[in-house]
């Protein structure tokens, strides 16, 4: 493209993006069209990728297309493999796209569409994409080392230990909160429970097909599984309409929690190749398909956003979760803006597949942009609903009351009109008995998605099918995260225990498998049980805890990245990672302070424990007090650990910049690639 044309094209993109962002940010009082968000996001991503990521690639990372990557040097046909860049991109995106970017923005929509949208766009372009990109490249230059190994090498033993502890903590809290979302989505929902239950025999059938009938034909069997899942969704409505069958598939929250805990243990401890691997493929198939479909649906239908730009709940009194817009909007939305967990993927499988260093920009920065686009879709799905309906679905009974009329009156009193009849009609339209108090984000997202789909495909008649399709889609891949996460955490614990007693580290030794599986499942099962029993719905305390721990891991990742940049004598560019790092430190430390010490019992864990202690005692009071103190202690421990990493990093940066510490990075020495000659 010649220079004049390039200036013209990019000038137009910038002007269009500026106009769209301004419209989203400034328009008040009347609803705006979702397309403004789509245009704002597309332009921001295009500009961020074209200019910011290119600047990082050229000036800071100095990507070298002639340097052989570990995929080439260590190629073994298994973990290390030279792979087409689009294939690596797809692989990386499939691994980072979980339920987080769907649930977080739905919960944060209680502040209005503006805070979530702005954080998703700015957070992704300046923090999340940067983190994923630099960590990926630094791992590529270190033979595909993991984040914990890089933290140990570049910051020291403290860094390595804290990164390890943060990963385990995040996994446990994540699994607890993910399971809680499934419980809240499926409780008292025979249709949803039936559909999810049916995925197990479907997966078994897929397993037999893969193993016996057409070995290795995963795409084929996944397509077949997808059709069967659609049939199960269709069949679910008959189950919900038949009194005897409906009773069989109707569970309350504690029963569902126990079933999921048992499932988690079985998934981790048993050699269940027959069930788990096919379910994983099925989930990936549904995930990629649904995200694409939702994107097309939003653009084709371009619905109006009914949620205001900002709601009265920016003051911290929100019913979905308590806490002010700063810092809570920034920890509620993690995966769509910046997520420490992504650093694990960027330093896991992906660096072992990259063929050329220059491709890490597209994979690292580009895939995170797509993840952020998924979060924008979630904001739209949540905000197309009438706000009264959104709050009726997402508010716990402890805030708005149990009775439909009382809940509707409370929500209408906040300025978001809704009637019990509206809610009953909506519940009927989606095939549920009730939609009140369905906290966790998944049901609200399902209603929003069903509304978008039903307006573009099939009309109101198919609303119930689309709702249950959306619910199944979320529950399916949350359950996949649950069983994959439990096994990953088990491997990590076994790896650590192996240093104490060797047989415990053997992943095939059954006593160790059972003991470590029980340990991990008990840990996240405890948080799940705590959430199920919480009168405020569980999400109020557990999601912020998850957000804090995830963003603290991002803090560790950005400390590692900044350390390496300074050691590479590129300190003048360190602001690229230092500014997001400072932002995350401000957000996570403020949020942690509030969650531990805030005097409002809905925000502060200790204040809530105090309020419970001074209130009327019930059978559950002492347990609730203990849970709140435990949550405060977990938050405090995480903050102390990350403070240690920060202090250690600062000490090192100071020493290097003053010449007191030698700046020595632990990169693999340069080896010239052979791929260029082969291609040439």
């Amino acid at each position: 493209m010649n220079k004049t044309l390039a200036i013209l094209v990019w000038g137009t993109v910038a002007a269009l993006g500026g106009a769209a962002v301004s419209t989203v940010a400034v328009r008040r009082g009347e609803p705006i069209n979702a397309l403004w968000l789509v245009v704002a996001a597309t332009c921001c991503y295009a500009l961020g990728y074209r200019f910011y990521s290119k600047f990082i690639a050229a000036k800071i990372l100095v990507l070298d297309g002639l340097r052989a990557t570990p995929a080439e040097r260590l190629e073994n046909g298994r973990d290390f493999l030279v792979t087409n860049k689009w294939v690596v991109f797809g692989h990386h995106f499939a691994a980072i796209a979980g339920p987080g970017p769907l649930v977080g923005p739905v919960l944060a929509a209680q502040f209005g569409y503006l805070p979530g949208t702005m954080w998703v766009l700015a957070g992704a372009v300046f923090a999340g994409c940067v983190q994923d990109f630099v960590i990926l490249l630094f791992s590529v230059r270190r033979d595909g080392k993991s984040l914990t190994e890089m933290a140990k090498d570049e910051i020291g033993l403290v860094g390595g230990f804290v990164a390890y502890a943060a990963v385990i903590s995040i996994l446990i809290i994540l699994l607890g909160v993910a399971a809680l979302i499934v419980v809240n989505a499926l409780k008292a929902s025979p249709w949803g429970t039936f559909t999810i239950a049916m995925t197990m025999p479907i997966a078994l059938l897929m397993g037999v097909y893969l193993r016996r009938i057409r070995p290795g034909r995963v795409l084929e069997v996944s397509a077949l599984g997808f059709v069967l899942v659609l049939a199960a969704i269709w069949g679910g409505q008959y189950v919900s309409q038949n009194a005897a069958l409906a009773r069989l598939f109707t569970f309350n929250a504690p029963t569902l929690a126990i079933l999921i805990i048992v499932y988690g243990f079985a998934a981790s401890a048993l050699p269940v190749w027959l069930l788990l691997a096919p379910r994983d493929y099925l989930s990936t198939f549904v995930k990629l398909g649904t995200i694409a479909l939702l994107g097309v649906g939003i653009v084709a239908l371009h619905p109006t956003l009914h949620m205001p730009a900002l709601t009265r709940f920016v003051d911290g009194s929100g019913p979905v979760f308590a806490g002010k817009i700063f810092p809570f909007a920034f920890i509620t939305i993690a995966c769509g803006a910046v997520s420490g967990f992504h650093a694990l993927i960027s330093s896991g499988t992906t660096p072992k597949l990259i063929a050329r260093e220059t491709e890490s920009r597209m994979v690292g920065y580009g895939a995170m942009m797509c993840e952020s686009a998924v979060a924008v879709m979630a904001v739209i799905a949540a905000c197309v609903m009438q706000p009264g309906i959104y709050f009726a679905i997402n508010s716990p009974a402890g805030i708005v009351g149990q009775a439909p009329a009382a809940a509707a009156a409370t929500i209408s009193g906040w300025g978001f009109p809704v009637t019990a009849a509206d809610m009953q009609a909506l519940a009927h339209a989606v095939g549920e008995q009730t939609l009140y108090n369905r906290t966790g984000g998944a049901p609200a997202f399902a209603v929003g998605m069903a509304s978008i789909f039903s307006h573009s495909l099939g009309g109101e008649r198919l609303m119930a099918l689309w709702y249950h399709f959306a619910l199944m889609f979320e529950a399916l891949f949350i359950l996949t995260v649950l069983d994959a996460g439990t096994r990953v955490a088990r491997f990590m614990v076994q790896d650590a225990l192996g240093h104490v007693y060797k047989p415990l580290g053997r992943t095939s030794w059954y006593p160790s498998i059972l003991a470590t599986s029980a340990l991990i499942v008990a840990a996240w099962g405890y948080f799940l049980w705590q959430g199920v029993k919480d009168p405020l719905g569980g999400i109020n305390s557990l999601w912020p805890l998850f957000g804090i721990s995830n963003q603290l891991l991002a803090t560790v990742a950005l400390c590692v990245a900044t350390s390496i940049i300074i050691k590479l004598h590129r300190a003048k560019y360190a602001a690229v990672t230092l500014i997001p790092l400072a932002g995350l430190v401000a957000v996570t430390f403020t949020a942690s302070w509030h969650k531990i010490f805030d005097s409002n019992p809905r925000v502060g864990f200790l204040a809530q424990a105090q309020a419970l202690a001074s209130g009327p005692a019930t059978g559950a009071t002492s347990r609730l007090i203990f849970n709140n103190r435990l949550d405060a202690a977990v938050t405090g421990i995480l903050i102390v650990m990350v403070t240690l990493v920060l202090v250690e990093s600062l000490r090192q940066w100071w020493g290097i910049l003053n010449g007191e510490i030698e700046a020595r990075v632990k990169e693999t020495p340069f080896v010239r690639t052979r791929l260029v000659e082969e291609q040439g």
């Binding site: 493999l81 691994a95 034909r217 992504h342 994959a484």
Partner: protein
């Protein structure tokens, strides 16, 4: 037309990689085996450890 074919091939390859079909094909090539239920079982056994320890994001 050529671009459409190339795009389709890329999409197909991405899906084959995500769904481990490509990994199975490489396994067969490496071991010099033909596809069979035994070969697939051996592939799963070899692949399980790596697959299980792979994190999935939130």
């Amino acid at each position: 037309m050529k671009q459409i074919i190339t795009s389709w091939q890329i999409l197909r390859n991405v899906l084959r990689e995500i769904f481990d079909e490509a990994a199975y094909a490489r396994f067969l090539r490496r071991r010099g085996l033909a596809s069979s239920s035994k070969a697939y079982a051996a592939f799963r056994r070899e692949f399980e450890g790596a697959k299980e320890s792979r994190p999935k994001c939130c």
